[in-house]
Symmetry: C2
Subunit: 293 residues, 2 copies
């Protein structure tokens, strides 16, 4: 089975990985990759010989049966609006942005009479960006959230599921608002907090940090410009969530201060245990022994 | 060069790794490993045949030229107090605990006339505990903080540096209080925050989390009992630091809310950029491009 002509718009980490995966799995008859400039397409040429490269938006979309928007959220609307009428009426159009409410609001109306739109968000990535970080197996085993609404067509819903499953993903459906709330908790807030932990540690302390700190803050090496856009596009949900987290941390401060300088060990143990339990359910890691020798 | 008879008290992750590293690097003539019970010594027997295993504290310490206390902080004093007079007067005694102020206060007086005491803290570990997680190369390339005070002997200072260097570590000297403040920032606060991120995310959102969340929260799988003791032993410094972090996060909340619902992107970009810069200095990672295709 193939998906006919697939167009990937934006050859970065996600778009590049999509192109590599589609080629490797032979899922496209034609694979068109659009990049804003020749330079942006340079890497993909040798890594993915079947890809037809173009910097012309019209050429990129006019024959495509599936179009995947892999550009940053703030670039999507300006890119799509002038050419929405050129998409094939039968085409599936989706994206890979990590905020869905705003994308849904901006893009869905453009396709009402032009093609089948549905939002997608692969829960896969890296702190690195650009084609150099792309991998053919990026979506293999990854959760892919698709965000159908009441207005979505059955075709868009079904075809997008088939597309992501063919790439190795596990498809989960959420409405756009729920998606944005969940992703605030599991992606956007962790990103902010990782940056806060780095900014918070003093310059003399930082060089002493071990492997735990390195992993905890890995995502803080992500592109600041890209993440400013992502966090801004979901700022409302993130701010609400951050406020809730701050209240949790104020409670932890009270637990640490305890009474008469004696920390409340029972509450602290309970808190750490709860986190370890959740994580062991999630990642099937065996909790380590808490006994000492 | 060898360090004569080395006694490792507590065959967990750190103690077990020390035993494996000393054996592999042939740094000890005799290697004595103490465990509270026969069960705790089970794993080490086959992995480290040269180790002489014992559950008798006196046997463990009486011939040792170097004694390394690898038990949890709260167990050290009760273990050492009754047998401090049995240590060889020329022996170097150190520990591997991650809080130094309290250890210094409790243990240093026990050794004034008995042996040469100095605190150590290898910045190496894992979210796993127990001998099963031990590795001979755990200290290779790791920062090892030693915490001499005005009362420390030259012998303790010099010999502990030689010992950790022979194991592949990079030795850094800090006074115990500065150590505890730094470690609050780079280890204890990140641990608390990793747990907070897990506890904060909803049960429906958690299963959707990707690799970023997994890494950011890895250390939250550490032993709750062990970490309750560590965090409690440094509760004062951590609470002060957490308060400072909370104020940072309140600022971030203001940035996200912005004016009239428009987030303050300039401040957000600056904040994320600062974290990325610090991290790229620290880990020599090349910052990723922030341009979109």
């Amino acid at each position: 089975m193939t998906f006919g002509t697939v167009a990937i718009l934006g050859p970065g980490l996600i778009g590049g990985s999509l192109a590599l995966a589609l080629a490797e799995r032979k899922l496209a008859d034609r694979l068109i990759v659009y990049g804003r400039s020749q330079t942006s397409l340079y890497g993909i040429q040798s890594a993915c010989p079947m890809a037809e490269l173009t910097s012309d938006p019209q050429v990129a979309v006019k024959d495509a049966d599936i179009v995947v928007l892999c550009m940053p959220i703030e670039a999507m609307f300006a890119f799509v609006a002038p050419i929405a009428h050129l998409f094939k009426p039968s085409a599936l159009v989706t994206d890979v942005g990590s905020v869905k409410g705003r994308v849904e609001r901006d893009l869905a109306p453009l396709f009402v009479n032009n093609a089948h739109w549905i939002g997608s968000h692969p829960m896969a990535g890296s702190e690195k960006s650009g084609f150099a970080a792309a991998r053919a197996d990026l979506f293999s085993g990854a959760k892919i959230i698709i965000t159908p609404t009441e207005k979505s067509s059955l075709l868009a819903d079904k075809k997008s599921e088939e597309f992501w499953r063919a790439l190795g993903g596990h498809v989960v459906r959420l409405d756009p608002e729920t998606h944005d709330n969940y992703v605030a908790q599991i992606s956007h807030i962790p990103h902010l907090i990782a940056s806060a932990l780095v900014n918070h540690a003093g310059q003399e302390a930082l060089p002493l940090a071990g492997g735990g700190f390195r992993d905890t803050t890995r995502i803080a090496s992500g592109s600041p410009a890209l993440w400013t856009e992502i966090l801004s596009a979901n700022a409302g949900a993130i701010a609400r969530d951050l406020n809730r987290l701050i209240r949790d941390l104020c409670n932890l401060e009270i637990i640490l201060k305890g009474v008469d300088g004696i920390p409340d060990k029972t509450s602290l143990l309970h808190y750490l245990q709860k986190a370890q339990d959740s994580r062991s359910h999630l990642y099937d890691t065996k909790p380590t022994s808490s006994k000492h020798p």
